[in-house]
């Protein structure tokens, strides 16, 4: 594994080299049912730069149990998703139910455990270093103070430092674990992406088609749009950039 992995990355990086412009800009729209969602923070920013607002629908990582501010994923209006695809700025990721999904599991399989393992050893090391630093600081402060009477405590600290070096074990339970928001793993190379990309489904009825046209027209005129079902309308139209 350790051998094959760099190989893959090299291959990908080559591909990136020639088509970097497109790859870096392509927004990945993942579909949950028929709802277009954006998961990666970069995609969210990119969509916002194009002027699409969307609605955050997930719990905020920092404070998940409140409704005032929500976080990723960002739900897009169907029109927003279609506009992004039409502009060539986004690709629709096929849903899980499609059969071609399974073989793609393998790179993730290899990548994720090694990464989490690395995360653990890394945190362990950092934890160790942190503890050592505090003790060392305590020691140096003592030395700077230069009080002879506290010689014995100085020795004590030294002993603890040695003990720490000898048998430091970072409790596994205290390890910080990341719960990924977006799907982890390698990106698909452009060909793959091209192959996997699902077409934006054609609108089923005239109404959604006309909705989309109105949306596109208003967006092209520079307006910012959000949904307005609550008010009995189709869109709320804002004249300028919404501040947040």
């Amino acid at each position: 594994m350790a051998f094959s992995e760099p190989n893959i990355t090299k291959h990908v990086s080559k591909e990136d080299g020639c088509e970097e412009g497109i790859v870096s800009q392509l927004i990945e729209i993942s579909k949950c049912g028929s709802t277009p969602l954006l998961w990666r923070a970069d995609d969210l920013k990119a969509a916002r730069e194009v002027g699409l607002v969307g609605t955050p629908v997930g719990s905020l990582a920092r404070q998940p149990r409140q409704n005032i501010r929500l976080g990723r994923p960002l739900e897009l209006l169907p029109e927003e998703g279609r506009l992004l695809v039409d502009m060539g700025k986004a690709a629709v990721c096929p849903g899980l139910d499609s059969s071609c999904r399974d073989p793609k599991v393998s790179p993730e399989c290899t990548a994720v455990p090694s990464k989490t393992g690395k995360q653990f050893s890394g945190t362990e090391y950092l934890g160790f270093r942190g503890r050592k630093m505090t003790l060392l600081r305590a020691l140096t402060e003592k030395q700077n103070g230069g009080t002879r009477s506290r010689e014995d405590t100085d020795v004590e600290v030294r002993n603890r430092l040695k003990a720490l070096d000898r048998s430091f074990s970072f409790p596994r339970m205290a390890m910080a674990v990341q719960l990924c928001t977006a799907r982890a793993g390698l990106a698909h190379c452009p060909e793959e992406r091209q192959f996997l990309t699902a077409d934006w489904p054609l609108p089923q009825n005239e109404h959604s088609e006309s909705r989309f046209r109105v949306f596109r027209d208003l967006r092209c005129q520079g307006f910012y749009l959000t949904s307005a079902g609550k008010f009995g309308g189709d869109y709320l139209v804002y004249p300028g950039e919404l501040s947040t």
Binding site: D16, G54, Y125, F128
Partner: protein
């Protein structure tokens, strides 16, 4: 000394990993949001506060200061959105996703959430997908699938692709959970059946009809209090209680149904009793009581056929009232003797009010004082006179209204009670939410999804006996169809005594709606009618006498 080498080794490892990290981020930047160890370590101690945003920040003033503040807000926003969930491993509950059963099985002991979420199957603790996903988002649960932890995105994609639990459902679920409500799936079989509901209904007088029907009390004290003993009280007293009940409520309750079954007989006896009471000498008693609404459907007690003894008429009354028919009385009471009303009569205020001349004119227009009538010598002549008069009236009618094939619904010359008038013009009958709902068949398209319990019940909430939900949720979308009356009825009936709330999801934005029965007020002041008799067409609930008075004064 071995320490030193270890540290070194680790340092190297760390560097290597960092390098690899950088390499990878450069290569496949777009897909990599894994945190590096140092970032993870930092995140352990990050603050849990959300930077506030003031309202004033949004009013544009064009100043540089504001620009900067907005910029700062925006940066804070992005940093918040960017943040990844980092939890201590010890605080995480491990679980495994089992796609075949569409459940999440816990691998380590459940946390505090077990009080309100989850269920046990064969001694194993399990969670529904929506619960698992919510806990994942809260940073309490780590779900593995094929030995790999699922990201939130994968959770969404794997857990929410069934028809019964779509992303809209989850959004409603999550919204309510974040507000603190206890939410669990609605199981139609958990609702007591129609028959069970019938057996449990106490007859409670304080409640209005619909609540009474829907009330399903488990407290035994309530039942004994309102139980069969109530049946033994006086019939008249019961009238008062019954009157408030919805007369058209579906026949799915025990006591009300019993009452309605015995209703025809009692009212028939009431009619019998009329002659019995009128022996007392009040033949021209106006039996209709004001306040009896015609528009609220057929009344349980027809007060026009239920006479009451007129003790106030001064000319003739006897010292006592005969004993009531024993069949109207409860068995235990048996027969009661005649009622001596003399002491009651002493207490009655028999002062005769004086009417103004106009009022006298209206009330005391004795037919015998009419000159033309006086001239009549026999009935035939009188009838002829009547005919002539009505013809005269008809002549005044505009021909284009009355001669055509279509004539007005109501002849203004014909006095009738407002109730009758309302019946005539009633094109749309008032309907109650539960009216006829028991006969309707449910559809697959609409169903109740969640039971919702109020946050303040969380402390004593038990999954085994959750008690009565605060509300039930039906999830729909602005893109989909609007629930029609049939759906409303079916779901309201299915939910029984718990109100059904419709959670409408609009692209991440949720609005809650509920439908409730209400009655348009029908009381109206006579003065208004006097000013504008046409109003009577739109209003109801007036004594026919009052209406006649209006007619007379209008002429």
């Amino acid at each position: 000394m071995s320490m030193g080498t270890r540290t070194q080794r680790m340092m190297i490892q760390g560097c290597l990993s960092n390098m690899a990290e950088q390499n990878k981020t450069a290569d496949v930047k777009s897909s990599n949001e894994l945190l590096s160890p140092s970032e993870l370590f930092k995140a352990r101690t990050r603050s849990h506060k959300i930077p506030g945003r003031g309202q004033k920040d949004f009013i544009p003033s064009g100043s540089n200061e504001q620009e900067a503040r907005l910029q700062q807000n925006l940066e804070e926003h992005w940093s918040l959105v960017l943040e990844e969930r980092v939890e201590r491993l010890g605080n995480l509950v491990k679980a495994v996703w089992i796609p075949s059963d569409r459940i999440v099985e816990l691998q380590s002991p459940a946390g505090k959430f077990w009080q309100t979420m989850g269920f046990s199957v064969h001694g194993k603790q399990c969670l529904h997908p929506e619960e698992a996903l919510y806990l994942m988002e809260c940073g309490n649960l780590q779900v593995f699938y094929q030995d790999l932890p699922l990201s939130i995105q994968e959770g969404y994609e794997r857990f929410l692709n069934s028809k019964t639990m779509s992303i809209q459902h989850y959004q409603v679920f999550g919204h309510l959970k974040r507000l603190g409500y206890v939410v669990n799936r609605f199981d139609p079989s958990s609702v007591p059946s129609q028959y069970e509901r019938q057996l449990n209904i106490p007859l409670s007088r304080e409640r209005s009809g619909r609540q009474l029907k829907r009330k399903r009390s488990h407290s035994p004290t309530h039942r004994t209090q309102e139980g069969p003993t109530t049946e033994g009280t006086e019939v008249k007293d019961r009238d008062g209680g019954k009157e408030r009940m919805n007369p058209e409520a579906p026949p799915d309750m025990d006591e009300t149904q019993m009452a309605s079954q015995e209703d025809p007989s009692t009212s028939a006896q009431g009619v019998q009793g009329r002659s019995w009471w009128s022996k007392g000498g009040t033949p021209d008693l106006q039996p209709e009581l004001p306040g009896q609404s015609q528009s609220s459907g057929s009344p349980r007690w027809d007060f026009r056929s239920l006479p009451f003894p007129d003790l106030g008429s001064r000319d003739k009354h006897r010292g006592s009232l005969a004993s009531p028919d024993p069949c109207l009385l409860p068995e235990a009471v048996g027969s009661v003797g005649p009622c001596d009303v003399a002491p009651w009569l002493l207490r009655l205020n028999l002062w005769q009010g004086r009417m103004s001349r106009r009022e006298q004119d209206q009330y005391r227009r004795d037919i015998n004082q009419d000159r033309e009538v006086q001239r009549c010598r026999n009935w035939a002549e009188y009838r002829k006179l009547q005919e002539k008069r009505s013809q005269l009236k008809r002549k005044n009618r505009p021909a284009h209204l009355w001669e055509g094939p279509v004539t007005p619904l109501h002849d203004p010359a014909q006095p009738c009670s407002t109730g009758e008038l309302m019946d005539k013009i009633n094109v749309l009958k008032p309907s109650r939410l539960l009216e006829g709902a028991s006969r309707l068949k449910g559809s697959d398209e609409w169903r109740i999804c969640f039971n919702v319990y109020q946050p303040d019940t969380v402390a004593e909430f038990k999954k085994s006996s959750p008690g009565k939900p605060y509300s039930r949720m039906c999830v729909c979308s602005f893109d989909g169809p609007v629930p029609d009356l049939r759906t409303l009825k079916v779901l309201a009936f299915q939910s029984g005594d718990i109100p059904v709330t419709y959670a409408v999801v609009d692209h991440g934005d949720i609005s809650f709606y509920s439908f409730k029965d209400f009655q348009i007020p029908t009381d109206v002041l006579p003065q208004i009618l006097n000013d504008n008799p046409a109003l009577t067409a739109g209003l109801s609930l007036l004594d026919s006498r009052v209406y006649q008075k209006i007619q007379a004064s209008g002429k």
